[in-house]
Structures are given as structure tokens and as C-alpha cells.
Subunit: 227 residues, 8 copies
């Protein structure tokens, strides 16, 4: 509770976690799904008021939620691809995280990853569209995989990219399965299982399409590596 | 029924398919699971008698079945790794199939693939232990992936190897998921799903640990390519 | 990179794989799902420019994508049933692939199979609507199952057709499970499992509704068989 | 309770259902799994005493249970293949049920089907080993599929046989998936799903390896058809 | 082919099975899903022409398909609840099948059952809304469960009704799981599993919501019982 | 920590929860799975020392664990059926819980339920072997279902019993699915799903074979009802 | 049937269970899913007429159903959040149930829980938005978890809250998994499994989003505890 | 290949990855499953020879494999709990990783985590047996959760611990689901899903029982944080 002497009163539909920044290093993030536009805007206002010097983030914000934010929160940065909203000052980037993706259809999840990394204060290098079926594209980017503090790999369909990347770098790798695919991809389950069974050691995995979670994990690594 | 004027009488526990060679180009193969050693030896004898000029194959033969074959069928070739038995003359190899495997634990399935290929009359080139976590090993074998009539790729755990191989060759690729792995590999399901969702086009898949089926498919390709 | 001295510049949303034709015998194919109409048209233009003497294919193209192609790419061949687009000259057909389907509801997947086969340069013979519940229809088509270089079998619901076809031909069989069915068909999973467990040897399988993948596999067989 | 004026006292480990014969036409059947040899022998004795003029059946009897029965119940008929025990007089067969099986490995389930049919009073015709990969074998048995009151089809692996049989007969078809197979057969689930999705109308299905249930269903049909 | 000397020509989108009535006792039934209204009307016309003295049935007909039938086939009987269409003369009912349902939400599946039974020539007795949570309602209907040739039980949610009914009748029981429910009902999978594991012997099961299949099975029983 | 002034020192392989009795009303229970006999005996000793006036319970104790307890803890009550161990004085029973079971194979889980109820201080009435396929047996026990403070229903296979019981009582019902069954019972999953989808309101469910958990829940109800 | 001498006649689409109140302590509740607005209003009218002194409840009522109730049943209390309707006099609250929820997105299920509790006659204390990622919020509410007769815990995503609450109270805990989440939450399955495997003893679970069932269970506890 | 001028020759059953240390910072690790004792000892010898100044690790080593190592590799450190073998000099520990576990049954996985961390050069602090059902034990260890560079949390059953830990620390958290549990824990799947759906941001997950993978990920973080 370093930013506000007196926390704002809770609304009647929620109990906000104002001192999460003290405990975990970052304010509570608003999970947009299932929230009305009013609840979304209200939660962002309360958290921004409690943390005036921090970027407050909302993820998985619906189109109507994003419209409400644009209408009511002047300074908010809204990203339609990644469905994110950021309110308040962006931090100076610390450290470096590479964000590697397998195909163009993974772009929305990549956008969530990069916005979250920046909101949490990490530097970002994006390596786009380097699927394993054209392995030379991965190899051409090899230097950008070894330099950063952490690597986030985003892939759908067969989810094979993290295994290849994991064998080319000494950085910790966080894999994000995406729901890109059809049939026996089962909405991302195939890619999730591939990544959990990666034959490259050191690959940790997050939920399907959970670019946010991967970015928080990687940002914590980057911030610790450079503290 | 080109090999025997009068088919042998059926035993009381089975109805053998003596003219499968006429229909599909190869005699019926004995599926060893669930057969007693007596049934196994009996079926091999009847099929060998009906097809004296062909290699008759049995797969998934238990240890007791293999012992019975060794004791009762002098000329049989028994492979303990691949759990196969072959009776009768091996054909001259026609064409070439590359058999690529990801790890040493996949060796039993590879053995079933290579024995089946040879029994069905295809030539074989084995490329061993080239997992994607050491991608340079795959690339070093690239010429051996492009020359053959077909490529069989055997992999467990993340099952990522066929996607990489499929992007490096113009040959048709048959992928065999193996049950190697643990936890969320679910006995090979993870590798199976990876392969079904391969981002490399042209990868076809067979059942988990079904080296036999992949080899039959590939042998048919090789024999047709060289007819 | 045999077709274009200087590859076109990549757009900012993708890294195209211009030399895939050199590696695998065919240019990169555009996977339509998750692409905007602009991205689709852009990718087709860039690939057609890089491969002026080849048919460039896009699959799983949405209605809006197909409308954009019709409006902007004069010479494109658009198929609404199979949701495919082809730009550039069709190749002379080489070899022959039989495409066998179980029911009228499988027609869209069959259309994807046949368009892909033709774009990749294989000849096609379509055997329609021969479900196993009327087994005489399969038997009546028996000659058309044995002549070709490869057989693609498309079936939903119980997915039993490849097992019957596989017992009647010496050609390699590629099975495509479709999502036709309801209840415990689980969107094609039942047919997929049936095919993976086929008691006819040599049946290889692709993802649910993946007519494209089956056709690439079969076309590679046909082209090799006649080279 | 037509057979015994005074039902025997219940043991302390069970509440037997002595009047099931009045309600459903047949005495309670002993489900052997999870019963000790003592409980098995005790239950058979009590039911045989209550129904002296009927065949009392136990299924899924373990090896030790079968040994105990052989030692203590002189007149019992014990079948090691089908793991069944029958005590008391066999009824005169009424009607006819065809039992069709796909492979030799399905024999134990077939044995449970035929013993149950006979214990419940139906006539039986066994058509063995007619898998769909050799479709001519099914066609050769066609007359035996159309004559009976009901057809029970037993098949593992791809479970495709009931769809073919269902298209060749006007009798009601009961399909029994077996756990024969490996990998993606998932202990019979693949065959179960195939049968539930059969494209031949009128195919009803029982649990995996539940030859007993299929036989009870078919016997009820046969007895009704001839009453 | 007892009804038409010369079968009508097939349309270009289907291969109809005109002699199914000879093989299985009833003409081919039109599976409405995935068919355009034109294909639906066309198939009904061709089958009705080939079988002028029989009721021709279509199931799972979409709203637009039903509208097309109403507009173009004057004599058709269209049922919006069960989504069925019948063309041609209804047969005289033979035998009796009880149709028992657990809740009002199961009514559409019940309608498909009863229409199919009548089209296939069986008599019907409907016992409605007798869920096991009010067990006295089942018991009150007990006589109607024991009289018929077969009993079809339709239930969603816990799918427990067939187990209770199966213990009260000597008729063969066919259970239809419905997709009524939410959460861990998994679209009818819970009810399907309950029924497959019924502790009442003789319960056979069809696919989720497959009222048609259960009715064909039951009608075959009824017709055989009274032949 | 009302029973011991100074808690015993923790062993080096565990951190015991000595004040759970203060928080939840009962001492920590030892989960036997994965514990060596030494760890089991050690944990029981430490907890018994900390709670000398309470019954200390261990569940899921292996045969070797039970042997070690018999050898080293004189006063322990060991139940081989339910695989439980109790050390220390049994409490006076308060209130009443009915324990209803569907079949004899469910006896081990019933034993775990009844021992746990008694160790936690509740009175018990056991109603055995009243499966729904003999519904009259359930109805005959109806008074014993309505009197108690709570009803625990134990059932495997179709798991239908709680739905029937839940419609006959105003007491809260806790359902325990057991792993009794085979094939599509999936080790108790079918019964679990049945119970979760029960059409009788007020049925709450615990994990497969978790007699312990159901008993703790029911004992808490009984103790509160009579406080 | 204590409230109405002569039960109203059943409509033709349902068999209502008028004496459920006598058997289970509360009138039949209308399950709204799959009912037309007319059926919904009709069922409420009939049940209210039969039970004039009781609150009659409908759950899972669609928007059109709620509109119909508002238009036709003046005195009904309609809750759009929880999708419930109550007709007739609310009972005096007896006992106390705590309703604890993890996040704001769980509010609709909480509303169903609280309305049901009140309709069934239990007192309610709502503890909102105390997710385990901010564990201090749970601890701050500890007294409110120990006082009541029962605790209902509502949580989606990881479903971890009941394990923490279960370790802090001696009251029986009923856990409700919600479908809040995405990807590998599988519509609430992840939370359901977490709760079934809770390491806190005494946690019983209901179906995903089944606030109604949890409330009935808890209300029965509260009413018994205070009788 | 910094340690050996000339790599040793490959055995005929494997292609070792000698320069993995150059690419990823650590030598190849021997995956013990599916390897014979001879292959295990051989691989350890070859890798130790190639990397004389590094700790070479083998995981999932069977009892016979461990016996072979003890007999043939004098200096090897063998851990029977964690089933690991280490050959060669241990590195000086760099940084700090906390290893937190929920129950005593998770000890084998914890042992694999700690041995791997030490072999890869990270410092370790073990916090044992702090399950969420006794939440005070977690809180008592809070300082040890915030100090380290990374936190590895090991938990089976409900897998709830990482969500609580993730809300108490700013360090990156890696969660390891274990196969501890029964019934609907599905061999660790329940815990895996809980962790993938954690409501605490920044929790990344590895495969069930994959202590090795979590440790490699965490060690990479620790080494980077202190470089």
C-alpha cells in the first residue's frame, strides 16, 4: 500500500486487493471476462487511484468494455488485438524478454504478452512467425533467443516450437499454447500437451491463450535478473 | 490364392484370410496380442504353408509366444526388441524408406517398423536418435530425408519431430507416436495429437506404437514408386 | 527460390517461407483461419509473385476472405464448398488418386481434398457416397480402389469405411475423419479413433476435416510413383 | 418367488433379490468382480436353492473363484475362457441368436455371450472371425445374419463390424465393443464410439466387454419373438 | 427393390441405397444434417418414388428443410418438435413399444422415437415424465412397462431411469441418453455412461439424442415378435 | 492445541498440523498412501500423543502399514476391509447417519465410511445392498432414510442410487461414487458423473472411493444437528 | 400433499410431483432449461396452487421465460442475475449458511445459491470476492466461516478456495465449481476436479454452476441443525 | 564442446548431443526410462568423459539401473528417493531457489527437484509439508517465499498450493503437479489443471511429476539473476 495512504472504499460487487503490489511487486490486474463495462471502468478507476505511479492493466476486455474505457478513461491505452487496457504511466523497461511466435494467427496472444511485459516493466524483443515447418527461420533468429533474460514462445496447432527453441538457448523458456487449430487440436489442448511433454528441458507452460500469465512470469525473471 | 492350390483347413478358433495377398499384395499378418502360443504357432504354420514363397509376419508377440516359435519353427526369425516373428523367405528390397527416430526409448517401435518394411519388401535407411531439442542432428541428416520414397518418423514425448522433418522433405511422411513419456503424455496421446496437428503439410499418422501400420503404408508407397 | 531472383519484402505481420518449394516441392500454402481478408489477399499476392509458374493455394478461407479474393484477384479460382482459393496456373496432372467418401455430408471435405490434389499436380478420381451400411456400393467400386497410386477415404460418424477399403486394395490409404455426426461423435473424434484403430493394415490418418493434409500426402505419393 | 415358498436367509454381506425372476423373467445373476470365493460360492448356493429349476449364472469370476466353485459345487459348469459359472439345469433353447465376432482375440467375450444366451434359454449360432478387412468373409455368412431373431456382434479395435452387419440384416443388432487393441483404442473406447455412431440404423450398444448384457438383451428378444 | 421396376437415376450429389428395404426391411432414411433443402426434398422424392407403398422418413431436418418440404411435398407429415418428415402411407402398427421419458425437456427426442416407430410399423405407448427422483411415478406405470415387446427409455441429466425400468420388466430395454443437462453432463455423456454401466441387465444403449436409432432397434423387435 | 501443552517435535519428513482440532473440530488424519510403515507409525504416535483424549485416524493404509501398526501400536484398531487404523479412545456417538450401499463390491468403501463416522463421533445405521435394479429393496428401507441427520449413499457402476434416495428423504445426501465396474465405468468416473448430474436436489458428491471425505462431511452435519 | 386437498390436473406435457414436499420437505422445483415460457408459467401456477403457503422456485429461467413470468405472475420475484423466479410467500429464515465466493465473475452462481437458500428457508451470510491469491482476505473473514451451520463456497478457475476454507472451519463445506475461466479450465472441469480432490476433509461438491443443488444441501443442514 | 577436444564415438544405440552444454549451458541429461542398465551406464560414461568438469545427471533411473551404477561407477551419487544419479563434480551453488511442498507423499518429486537444482548449480532452500488445508503453515514460511530468485511449488491432490504461494511472493513461481491422489485426481491431471488455471498470476507449470523440468527452469532463472 505504498501509493495511497487511505485505500478507496470497495464497491458492492467486489473486494479489491489493494496491497497486492506490496506482496507481489505489481498491483492487482483486472480480469475482464464476466465483468460489465461499468464494473471494468470502476475497477480500473479504483486501482489507478490506489496506484497513481503504476501502470494498471486489464486483460480479456470485451469490445463493449473497451468502448466504455475509451469513452470514460481519457488516458487509457486500449489494444484491440490483445484485448488489453492500460491506465497510468508505463514503467521504464528493465531487462529483456524475447517473444517468439509460430504463426500469424497467434498474433492476439502475442499482443497480450508484449503489453503485459511492458506494463510490468520488462523490455521486449518480438520474433515473429518462425514455425518449425520452416526450421531455417528459427535458426536465423538464434542470437535473439540466447541474449535475453527469458524467452516466451507462443504457438498453436502442434505446439512444437518451444521444443526447438528450448534446445537453442540457455535462457528460461515459458511456452504459451494457443487455441489456433481445428479438429484434434481441441481448442489448444494438443499444443498444451506438446509443450508439457517437451523434450527440451526447462520449458514451463501456462494455460491455453494465457499470454498474460506467461508475461508476468517472464517479467519477474527479467526484473530479478537485473536488480 | 496364388501360392496354394488348396487352402489348408481353418482351425476351430479362427477363420484365416488366405487370399488377402491377392487383394492387398501381402499375406495376412498375425496380430499376436491375445493369442496363446499354440494359436500363434498354428496360425504361422497355416499361413506359411499357404504362402511358401512369401515372408509371413507376426507382430506384438509375447515372450512366451516368441519362445514357442523358437522351439517349434526352426527357420523363424525372432526379434525380441520389436516383438516380431518372420517365417519364410525375405523378399528382395524394392525402393527406399527412411526410418527416423527421436530417442533411444523409441527403439522397440523402430524395430517393428524396420522388420515390417523388410518383410513387405521395401529397402530401409535408419536415422537414429535425432530429437528436435538438438536440431543440428536433424539438419545433419537432411539428405537422407529427401532421397527416399517415403519417410517414417517415430517419436514419443512431445512428438515434435515429424513437423520438423515434414518441412525438410518432399517425400510423404508417416508419423508414429510412441508411448514413451509420463504424466501428461497419457501413454502417447500427447505425441499423437501433436502429429495430427502438425504444421508441416503431408504428415499422416498411425496409432500409438503402431510401427507395423506405418511400415505397411510406407512399403506400399515404395513398391508403387518403383513398379 | 527457383521462381524469383529477389524475394518480395515480408509484410509486417508475417514471415513468409519463400523457399519451401525448393525444400518440399510445393510453395507455402496459406492457412486461412485467423487471417483478415487483407492479410489473405496480401499473402496470396506475395506468394503468387514469388512463384509465377505454380498454383498457389489457400485453405479454410472464410466467406469474407473469399469475397475479398473475388474482388481483388481476378484470376483466382474460388470454391465455396471446400473454402479454397487457387491463384496461378494449374499443373498438368501426374498419377492418380482415388477420393472415396461415405456420405453426402462429407462433400465439403472432399472438395478440399480434390482441389488440393489438383493444385499439387495429381490426377483425381472421385467415388462418392459409398457408406459401409450399403456394402455393395463399396464392392461395386472395387476396381477404382485398386488402380490408383493412392486412395483417400473421407468419412464421418462411425468412420468405418477406411477399414473396408483398406482390405480391398494394395494402394496406400489415407483416411480423413470428418466432423459429421452428433452426440458421441464428439466432432469427429469417434471417426478419428476408428481410423487410428483400423484393422486393415496400411491406413494412415490425418486430423479431423483435414482434407488438405491428406491430399498433400497422397499427391506426394502420386508424384513419386510416376517420376 | 415361484420356486421357493420360504426364501433362504440373507448372508450378512448381501441382500439378495430373490424375486427378480418374477419381475424380469430370470433369477439374479452373480457379478463375480470384487467378491471373495466364499461370497461367490455362498451366493450361488442361495440362489440355486431358491430357483432349483433354473440355471443360475455367475459372470466375471476370478480364477480363485472358479477354483472354489469347482471344489465345492459339483454340478457347476465352469468356463475359463468366458469366466462364467452355471449351476442348475440348462433350459431348452427357444428362438435363435447369431453371435458374430471380428477376431480371435474377441473369443473370451464371445464365450460370455454364448453361455449367457444358453443360460437364459436362447438358441445360438456362432459366426467367428469375420473382420471387415476381409469383407468377403462377412458376405459369405450373410444368410446366417438374416435368419435369427437377433444378432450380437462382438468387435474390438476399430469396431466397424456392426455397421456392415447392420446394413445386411433386418434383425435387431446388439453390438459389444471389446477391449482388444492398444494405444488409441483406449481399452475399447474407440470401438464403443464407433458402434454408438454406426451409420447402420438399429444398432444398440452395451458396455465394453459386456457380453453378458448383450446376451440378456438378445435372449429377451428371442424369447419374446417365439412366445 | 420390390417397389420399383427401374430405380430412378441418382442425383450428382449422392448414391442412394434403393434396395436397402430388401436387405434390412425398410427403405433408406434421409439423415437431414448437412443437407441443403434442395438435397433433402430431392432425396425424399427419389426414395418415395422408389417405394410408393412405404413411409419414407427424414430425421434431424433443419427449420429451412422443413419449410422446403412443406412448400414442395404436399402430403408430407412434418413434426417440428422431433424435426422429422414422413412421406407416403403410414403402415398398420404391429406389436407394441413403450416409450418412457424422464423429464419434459426430453420431449424432442421422444417425438423422434415415436415418429420413427410409427413409420417403421410398430405400435406405441408413451409414458411421460417419470423421473427417478419421484420413484412412485415409475412404479405407478409398472404394468405399462411389462406388457410391450420392447421398452425405449429416454433420459438426460443423471440417466438413471433405465436402471430402474430394467429391474421392473422382462422386455428388452433400449436406453436413449439425451443432451439435457449442463456442466458435468457434458452434452449427454454423463447419461450415456450411466446407461452403459446400468446395473440392470439387458439394457442396450444408443448414441446421445439418437431417438431414431433406438426406435429402429425397438421396431425390429416388435415386428419380429409378432411375425 | 487443547490436549498437549507442548507439541511434540516434528519429524524430518513432515510438518504436522497439531492445532487442526482447534480449527476444524478434529485432529489431523493420516493419509496412508505414499507413506512408509515407519512414517505411518511415527505420525500416528505423534498425533496420539498430542491428542490423548481423541480417536486418531489413518486411512488408505497399505497391508505393510497395517502390519506395522499391529506390531507396534498395541491399542490400535485395524480394519483390513476399509484399510483404516484408529488409535485412542472412540468418542460417544452423537446424532445418526445412514450409510446406504448399492452392492456387495462397495463394502470396502462402506467400511471406510462407517469407521470414519465413528472416529469423528457420529452414530451410524448401515443399509446394505439396495441397488436400484431391485427398487423394492430401497423402498423397504424408506424409514431408515428419512430419520437420520444425514444420509451417505455409496454406489459404483451406474451410480443411480443417490437419485432415488434423494427423492425419498429430506435429509442432506452425500454420494460416494466407487470404482466398482469395468469398461466405460472408467474407474468410477461414470458413477461420479451420474451423481453430479442427479435429478434429485440436494445431493452433494465426493471423490471416487472417498468414503472418508463423505463421512467427515456427514459427521459434521450430525454433530451440528445435535449440538 | 398437505396444502391441497385435490391436486390440480396435470398438463399434457408433464407429470408434476405434487407430494414431493411430503417426501423431501420442499415442493418440486421447476428446472427452466428446455421449457417454453408457456410451460414455465404453467408449471409455476400449478405448483403454487398446490402449495399456497410455500415459496415455489424456478431456476435457469431464460430471458424470455423471465419476461413471461413478469407479464403473467404479478407476485413473482424475478432475479436476472441468478436467473431465478420465486412465487408465493418466503419462509422465515432458520439457521445460517455462509456463502463464500472467489471472484466477481462468480456472482450469478452466488445469486442462485442465496435465492435458493432463502426459498428453502435458511438464513444467509454472503462473504464476497475472497480469492486465495489474496489469502489475507480469506483470513479476515475467518469468524464468518466458523459460526454458520454450513458453508457454501463458490469458485471458478483453479477452484482452490474450498481447500483453504475447509481447513479453517468445523462446519460442513459444500463447494460449487463455476464455469468461469478459459482454456484448460474446460468450462469448470478444472475447478470441479480441484474440489473433488480437496486436501481439506469434509468438502462435498456439486455439479458445475449448480448453485441450486449446493443451496438445497446446505438448507437441509441448516433446517436440521435448528429443528 | 568446451571440455573435450575429440568427442567420444557414439554407441550403436544412440546419438548423444555432446555440444548441448555450449548451446544451453548444461550437458545433455540422461532420461532413464526405457534404457537398459548397460545403456544407462554407457551414456553416463560417455557424457562424463566429454564433460569432466561438470556434474552429469540421470533421472527416472530404475532400481536395476541404480544398482548397475553403484556397481560400475564408483564416484556416482545415487538417490533412491528421487531416482537420480549424478556423476562428476558438483558445481558451486549460485543464487537461491525455494522448493515448497504440500505433503509428505510429494517427497520423491521434491528430491528430483533438489538434486537437479544442485547439479545445475543453484542454491536450494526446502520448505516442507505446508498444505493449504493448514494455511497458517504457509504463512509462517512467508519470508522464505519472498527472498529467493525463484520458487518451485510441488503439490498433488487438489494442487492448490501454488495459487496461495503465488499471491505471497514477487518471485517467479514454477508449479509441479504430482501424481499423488486417487480417483478423480486422474494420476495428477487434477493438480495439473488447478495449476494451469491458477488465479495467482505468474505461475508457470511443468508436466506431472516433472521435478527435473521445473528445476532446470528455476536453475536457469537463478543463474541469470546472479550473473
Amino acid at each position: 500500500m505504498n501509493a495511497a495512504q487511505h485505500p478507496p472504499s470497495d464497491p458492492d460487487w467486489a473486494t479489491l486487493d489493494y496491497d497486492r503490489a506490496d506482496r507481489t511487486g505489481h498491483p492487482e490486474v483486472v480480469f475482464g471476462e464476466g465483468k460489465t463495462p461499468e464494473q471494468l471502468v470502476g475497477a480500473l478507476r479504483l486501482l489507478a487511484e490506489a496506484h497513481p505511479d503504476r501502470a494498471v492493466l486489464a486483460t480479456r476486455v470485451s469490445a463493449s468494455g473497451r468502448a466504455a474505457v475509451r469513452a470514460e478513461l481519457d488516458s487509457a491505452v486500449v489494444d484491440d488485438d490483445g484485448r488489453t487496457v492500460v491506465v497510468g504511466p508505463w514503467p521504464e523497461p528493465v531487462g529483456l524478454v524475447a517473444v517468439v511466435s509460430a504463426g500469424t494467427a497467434d498474433a492476439p496472444v502475442c499482443a497480450e504478452v508484449t503489453t503485459t511485459l511492458r506494463a510490468f516493466g520488462a523490455g521486449v524483443d518480438v520474433v515473429r512467425d518462425v514455425g518449425v515447418a520452416g526450421i531455417h527461420r528459427v535458426l536465423a533468429a538464434r542470437d535473439r533467443l540466447t541474449a535475453p533474460d527469458a524467452v516466451v514462445v507462443v504457438a498453436g496447432m502442434d505446439g512444437a516450437l518451444p521444443s526447438v527453441v528450448g534446445g537453442l538457448t540457455s535462457a528460461p523458456v515459458v511456452a504459451v499454447p494457443t487455441s489456433v487449430g481445428y479438429g484434434a487440436s481441441f481448442g489448444g489442448v494438443a499444443a498444451l500437451l506438446t509443450m508439457l511433454n517437451s523434450c527440451a528441458p526447462g520449458v514451463a507452460v501456462v494455460n491455453i491463450d494465457n499470454g498474460f500469465g506467461a508475461a508476468v512470469h517472464a517479467a519477474r525473471i527479467a526484473l530479478r535478473a537485473r536488480r
